[in-house]
Each structure stands twice: as C-alpha cells, then as structure tokens.
C-alpha cells in the first residue's frame, strides 16, 4: 500500500544547521498494516510522515502509495490518498468554522470544489450519526465553532475528518501527545475502533512505548533517519517495554534516553 524507497532529506543544506533527517530510508506497508513508530527526538519520525504527506519534496528516492508514484506531487494533491492527524490539536481543524463545515471540507477531499453547496442537508444527518461514535456529545453541536472545542475533542474530530473519505493511508503524528493521559487513552481507543472498522493502513508515531506495543500489528523504531528495528506479528505481541529497550540498546549500541517514553 505504501512503498518508501531509499529516500533522503537534508534540512538547511550548506549551513551550520545542516541536518541529514532521512538517510536512505526504506519501508513497505501491506494493505491493512497498522504500524507504530517510535524513536528519540530528532530520529526522523515526523520527517518520514511529512515526506509521505508531501509537506516538502524529498531530495532523493521514491514514494508510492497504492502503486501510484507521488514523489513529485504537491501536498494538496496527495491529500486525495491520505488522512492526517497532527500533534497539535490546532493544526487539524479550522477553528473559525463550524463542526459540520469542517466535516464537509474533509468529505470533499480529493474532489474538485465547484459552486455546489458547501454542505447539504443529507450530509448533516450523516455527520450527526458519525459523531455519535465519538461519544463526546458533538452530535448535538454540529453548528458550534470548532474553536470552542477542547484539545481532545478537536483531535477526535480531526480523526473523523481524516477517515471520513476512506484514505489509502492514515498518518498519525503523535496525535495524542498534547492531551492529558485520560483524554489520550480515549482518543487512542477511538483510533483503534475506526482503524479496525475500516481496515485502514496506518502509520502512527508515538512517544509512548506502551502504546506502541499495545496498538497495531507491527512496530518500527527509528534512529538518525533510518529504521533500526522492525518487529511484527507474533513477535510483537510478546513484546514488553523492558525487552523493547534491550533490543533498542542492542540495535543502536546506546542507551535509550527519552524519559517520556520510559516513564509512561
């Protein structure tokens, strides 16, 4: 479903801040794979997701989504194949627009936007039903401005928007990192339900080792712009945080130094 072939990306080339963020990274996802991505700060996790999403173009290499070469496609064109949820709850929604208007925008992802009505009565009913599965009471607030919602509500809404038109690939960039633990658990639970319901191919970054182990069928760990650990199937089910750390030390030759990951 997703093929990343040997991609490179250097930020600020030729300056003192030059940083090789992706170093010949390759990754292939099968249809229906739910892959969790872990790694320390600056390992290249978000960079990999942004490369797939087309936030900028990669220096070298090739990216294919469902066999389609998207390497040179601009961000808004790739959006037709992708659903995205960001770390910052402010990023995924339009605050000054209504809940139903945000959903209507997402519903038209990948379609030509004409002078037809921006939202129809039939859609409203559909959205009301969809919002019910979030169990946050949003189905009664269709015309509320999204800016009035809490961070967790906004992330849940963004998740719904990302999956409203079934994407070929769902990209989750630490989408629970900015939430309190209770809310984060709720949003993760909603994520699991939607991904399982629609059998979505998913790439989820998390800084939480426990979450990375519990969710998904495959786990990859990144360091210095490369994948250093790739565990799937039965082997992943048997993982614990402790032996994941041991494997990390073996693969990288250093100790894991991300407190946030260890403490949770």
């Amino acid at each position: 479903m997703l093929e990343i072939k040997n991609i490179y990306k250097t930020f600020n080339p030729g300056t003192i801040n030059e940083k090789l963020a992706l170093d010949g990274l390759s990754l292939t996802l099968k249809e229906g794979d739910f892959v969790t991505v872990i790694g320390g700060n600056g390992a290249g996790k978000s960079t990999m997701l942004n490369a797939v999403a087309g936030t900028w173009l990669v220096d070298e290499g090739q990216i294919l989504i469902d066999g389609i070469d998207v390497t040179k496609l601009p961000e808004h064109k790739r959006a037709a194949y992708l659903g995205r949820v960001f770390q910052d709850p402010m990023t995924g929604t339009a605050a000054t627009m209504e809940i139903e208007e945000n959903l209507a925008l997402a519903k038209r992802r990948g379609k030509f936007r004409s002078l037809r009505a921006g939202i129809t009565r039939k859609e409203r009913e559909e959205y009301r039903e969809l919002l019910k599965i979030l169990d946050l009471g949003l189905e009664d607030r269709l015309t509320s401005k999204v800016g009035l919602l809490s961070g967790g509500q906004r992330q849940a809404l963004t998740l719904l928007m990302a999956t409203l038109k079934k994407p070929k690939l769902l990209l989750l960039d630490e989408h629970t990192a900015a939430l309190d633990p209770k809310t984060a658990a709720k949003v993760l639970d909603i994520t699991d339900r939607i991904v399982n319901r629609d059998h979505l191919t998913t790439l989820m970054i998390t800084h939480n080792m426990h979450d990375a182990i519990v969710h998904g069928n495959r786990l990859i760990m990144m360091m210095e712009g490369k994948i250093i650990l790739d565990i799937e199937g039965e082997e992943k089910k048997k993982l614990t945080v402790r032996n994941l750390l041991d494997q990390f030390e073996k693969a990288s030759g250093q100790e894991f130094s991300n407190d946030a990951a260890l403490l949770s």
Binding site: E75, R84, T96, M97, R108, G118, L136, S150, G152, K182
Partner: protein, 308 residues
Amino acid sequence: MDILSLVNALPGAAAQGLIWGIMAIGVYLTFRILDIADLTVDGTMCTGGAVCIMMLMSGHNIWISMLAATGAGMLAGLATGIFHTVMGIPAILAGILTQLSLYSINLKIMGKANQAVNVNKYDLIVSLRYVKDVPFYQNTILIVAIFIVVLIALLYWFFGTELGCSLRATGCNPNMSRAQGINTDVSKVLGLMLSNGLVALSSALLAQYQGFADVNMGRGAIVIGLAAVIIGEAIFGRIFRNFALRLVSVAIGSILYYLVLQVVIWMGIDTDLLKLLSAIVVAIFLAVPYWKAKYFSKPIKRGGNTNA
C-alpha cells in the same frame, strides 16, 4: 457653525460612505477571511474609476464600463496573487508592488492625472447631483444600497459553496486546508481577485459620483477600508454573528466613518490633518484587541469540563 450646512452635507456623506462600503467589503474579504492585508487596493481604488470614465468617454454603455472596471480590478488582484504565490513574495510587499505599478498604469489608462465627465452628457448611474431633489428611484443612496444588498447576497451564496468554503478554510488554517486537498495558492489568488474586483467596482461608482477619476483618489484607501471594518465590528461584532450581517456591519461602518468625517470637517478642523487622524484612529482600534489580550486577559477557568 451653521447646523443647517451640516444637515445638508449629511446625505452626500452617507452616499459616499455607502460607495466606500463596497470597497470596505472587499477589504474585509482579504483582511478577515483570507488573513492578508492587501495593499493593492490603494491602486485598484483608482483603476476602477479610470477604466469606467475612459470607457464612458469613448462611448461605451455605463454597465459595460462598470463591468470592465471590475474586471480590471480582478486583474490587479491576479497580479498580486501571482507575486505572492508563484514568486513567493510576502503578501504585504506583493500588494505594494502591484499598487506602485498601478500608479503608472492608471496614468496610462487616463492619459493624464485627472479625467472628468459631465453628468449632463453621460448616462451616469450615481452622481452627487442625484442625492437630493430627484425621484427616489434615481437617488444615489438608494441605488448604491441596492448594489450592496445584491453584492452581499452574492457573497453570502458564494462563501457557502464548496469553493467558497475552501477559501474560508485557507484563511483560517492553511495547513489543514492542504491536508484536506485544498490548493491554498489558488484560494489566495481567487480571494485577492474577488476583493480587488469589488474595490474597482466601488471605484467606478465613486468616479461617477464625484464626476471625475483622479490618479490620487485611492491614496490611503486601505486605511479607510480597515476603519470601516473595525468600526463595524466594534459596534455590531457581538450581535451580528451571521456572515451576511457581518458584511452589512462593514457597510454601516463605512457610512459612519463618512458621517463622522463630515461632522469633524463641519467643526472646522484643518482638512490637511484628516488622513493623519484616520491613521491614528485605525491604529488605536487595531491595538485594542492586542492590549485587551495582554493586559486584561481573564485567568483560565480551572477544572470544569473533563470531557475529552
């Protein structure tokens, strides 16, 4: 201080305020919806009038002339949009570049700095002679008011369409818009064209109203437009939530601006100082929300809603 002379001047001020109201609605589209301060309008506010007057003088129908004026404004917006999106120039600078080039272009359109038309010779829609002592259906205030109502209705419809929604989303959150497949560059260019089209239409009406187009008639237009937007929001912001009503409040803001201006002139202020005063008033009103947030922000409510 003859109160009668003030009363006599008020209908004219209202008419002028209404005409500038169309311009202010254009400014509202870029400033509030697209979140761009577009300085092109200082140039477009002359281009529309120049095109309209010159087409009239060469014998074209008044409606065709106004349509052409609107089209010229849209082209100016397109130029700014291309500077900004294709060439990556910051929006403010892109607007200034177009504005400056329009100064030359406006001179070339008119052939000289000022071109006048005689209201008796041409079939004008609005004029300062049509404010009083004419049948009501010829009254400039009524005609411009109808223009505004029709334009607001059209804009209300447009911003409810798929395309219009994508423009609003672009102004609100460009990252989210791209993630939802919206080409934000196209949205910005469209918004700039729409806005400058409205400004040029307003300019065409203003040139007819005053009977001439002048290369300096747009100077400081952005400040007047912003003043109208801000006055409208300050007075009606809390009660007018609906988009169409917000546009109405901008138009009313523009009328109030011109009425206050008339009163200030009547009180005998040195008219050389008017632009300085306008700039100071706009600066203070723009600062108010910032000061409010900085010095008078209420502490965040603790506890409360634990729902996700």
